[in-house]
Amino acid sequence: MSLLEVRDLTTAFKTERGEVTAVEDISFDLDEGEILGIVGESGSGKSVTALTIMGLLPQPPARVVRGSVHFAGELLTGMSETRLERIRGAGISMVFQEPMTSLNPVLTIGEQIMETVRAHEAISVRDQRLRAIEMLDRVGIPSAVRRLGDYPHQMSGGQRQRVMIAMALACRPRLLIADEPTTALDVTIQAQVLDLLMDLRDELGMAIMIITHNMGVIAETADRVLVMYAGRIVEQAPVARLFDRPLHPYTRGLLDCVPTLEQDRNRLVAIPGSLPEPARRPAGCRFAPRCGHRIDACSAAIPPLVAVDASHASACIRTDILA
């Protein structure tokens, strides 16, 4: 049994123009101590997937249409809010992209971390404080004792993201979901935060789901990768395999269209067109209108995710020909 088991997860939102499906038929497992990368562009559904797992989407307008999420053997989908609250923080916790809007500006960071601990554990104020110091220390905030009394605005962006991670770790979760944790950070600070996440996995054996649009962040951290496009998983593979032998034309396109420091490219191979809006997704394969390998059959039906071996799967009807 995996720590997290997601099956056929489908989430829709009520809008003025009727119900729009945001993510569709998402299935994957995440093991204890594993770092799973989810990569996709805007509208791919990567954040909605995470928020559905956490039960953090307001229902309505959101609705889980079908599918299930099991965490440590417990079914989360349909679970009462009271029981979900117990799991959030202590079982699964989440770090968001923008630490400034996720932290309370009028509480000191010490109070905020202690509040998280208090919500899940019956321990004395003194122990809450010790835990807060331990966590700030753990995420590399210098002179943690002194910084407990600081307010979020007194810290830099990188430090605030460390505080967010400290709060997420305060109740020793088994799974940390990090949604674009370094997107708002400068590159030297991004490197520090990615190193920190990997150290935490090694030392605490925590599983991490890292959600990003940046293939470089995936290459640096993930053990296994899901590639999402327009609400669906289009490819799934161990990280080295994905970069060496990408199968889906979208994954290949993503890898070819970014300039890299390692090689010189005269001209970038752009993916034509733009991302479809959730309400106007094309029939059949959603990438087909932008794909250079498109044939008529691509638009006839949504291609299922098909395994090419035990660890690698792609949702493309032309995999045999293109591989």
């Binding site: 520090q192 990615l194 293939m215 470089g216 290459a219």
Partner: protein, 326 residues
């Protein structure tokens, strides 16, 4: 090659009010602090650095969108610092800017044609057939269909809006274009389209670009030379292959080492020296070399004396005491 744009000792200090409400005081935020920089005719100079280093301020100073506190700017053989608004006008059309956010930079109530035509009208054109023809030509240049003229910004995707922003910048036939993070707000799969477009336009129209970005990979791809800024100072300038294969300044080295590599088997973690700590505030920059608080090679002199920009190798400028011992 001759310099089209040249900055000498260029400085911009912003006054920032601080303190408690009983003890108000103003401090100078030294956004750009004595920058010397030449941009050669026909080249793309990449300008990189982290948030708050002053790269966008420098870009705006060079085309006088904001007024410098000190120093001098020369454009196409003329000093333009201190020119009156009227005297500036003849130079204005030769220098344009493309902004990062294609959502915020276009007036949502104007049609694409009006948006692109506006700079022509400001420079004395009439809204006649000849002017409309120029708008149509600008749309063609950036790869938008002629029918786009009658539509409004919200009808376009981010990449298409950025094309409108580029058309507006190019309609006056400028010589010099400041590209301020032109692809940062775009989805990865769309970025390449805009990067390719900018390169094609440069070739076709003989443009000179200052390409400001925090993404070192994009800058490497598009630039001929690269300048690195840290806390209001240019710390290194060189031809791009020299910057990326033999960076001299410890900050440039750290910046390049921090970029994730697209090869999972070569993960950087634990293998490379990474700089610790945060970027200090430009309100109160460190003494001496501004990078000394984070530099892995810091020496006593770095804390007291600011290193000058020197040329240790031909056309490679570095401001570091390691490279140029006192």
């Amino acid at each position: 090659m001759t310099a089209l744009v040249s900055a000498t000792g260029l400085t911009k200090h912003f006054a920032v009010r601080g303190g408690s409400f009983l003890r108000r005081h103003t401090t100078a935020l030294r956004a750009v602090d004595g920058v010397d920089l030449q941009i050669r005719s026909g080249e793309t100079l990449g300008l990189v650095g982290e948030s708050g280093c002053g790269k966008s301020t420098l870009g705006r100073l060079l085309i006088r969108l904001i007024e410098p506190t000190g120093g001098r700017i020369d454009f196409d053989g003329h000093e333009i610092t201190g020119l009156s608004t009227k005297a500036m006008r003849q130079h204005r059309r030769a220098m344009q800017i493309i902004f990062q956010d294609p959502y915020g930079a276009l007036n949502p109530r104007m049609s694409v044609e009006d948006i692109i035509m506006e700079p022509l009208l400001i420079h004395g054109a009439r809204a006649d057939a000849a002017t409309r023809a120029k708008v149509a030509e600008a749309l063609r240049l950036v790869g938008l269909p002629a029918r786009a003229a009658q539509r409004f910004p919200h009808e376009f995707s981010g990449g298409q809006r950025q094309r409108v922003g580029i058309a507006r910048a190019l309609v006056l036939n400028p010589k010099f274009v400041v590209c301020d993070e032109p692809v940062s707000a775009l989805d990865v799969s769309v970025q390449a389209q805009i990067v390719n477009l900018l390169q094609d336009l440069q070739k076709e129209l003989g443009l000179t670009f200052l390409f400001i970005a925090h993404d070192l990979s994009v800058v490497k791809h598009i630039s001929d030379r690269v300048a690195v800024m840290y806390l209001g100072k240019v710390v290194e300038v060189a031809e791009k292959h020299a910057i990326y294969s033999a960076p001299q300044h410890p900050y440039t080295q750290a910046l390049i080492a921090a970029v994730p590599v697209l090869r999972p088997q070569d993960r950087a973690r634990g293998r490379r020296v990474r700089i610790a700590g945060d970027i200090p505030s430009a309100l109160n920059p460190p003494s001496g070399c501004r990078f000394h608080t984070r530099c892995p090679h810091v020496m006593p002199i770095c804390r007291v004396q600011e290193p000058a920009l020197t040329e240790p190798a031909p056309a490679h400028h570095v401001a570091c005491h390691l490279v140029n011992p006192v």
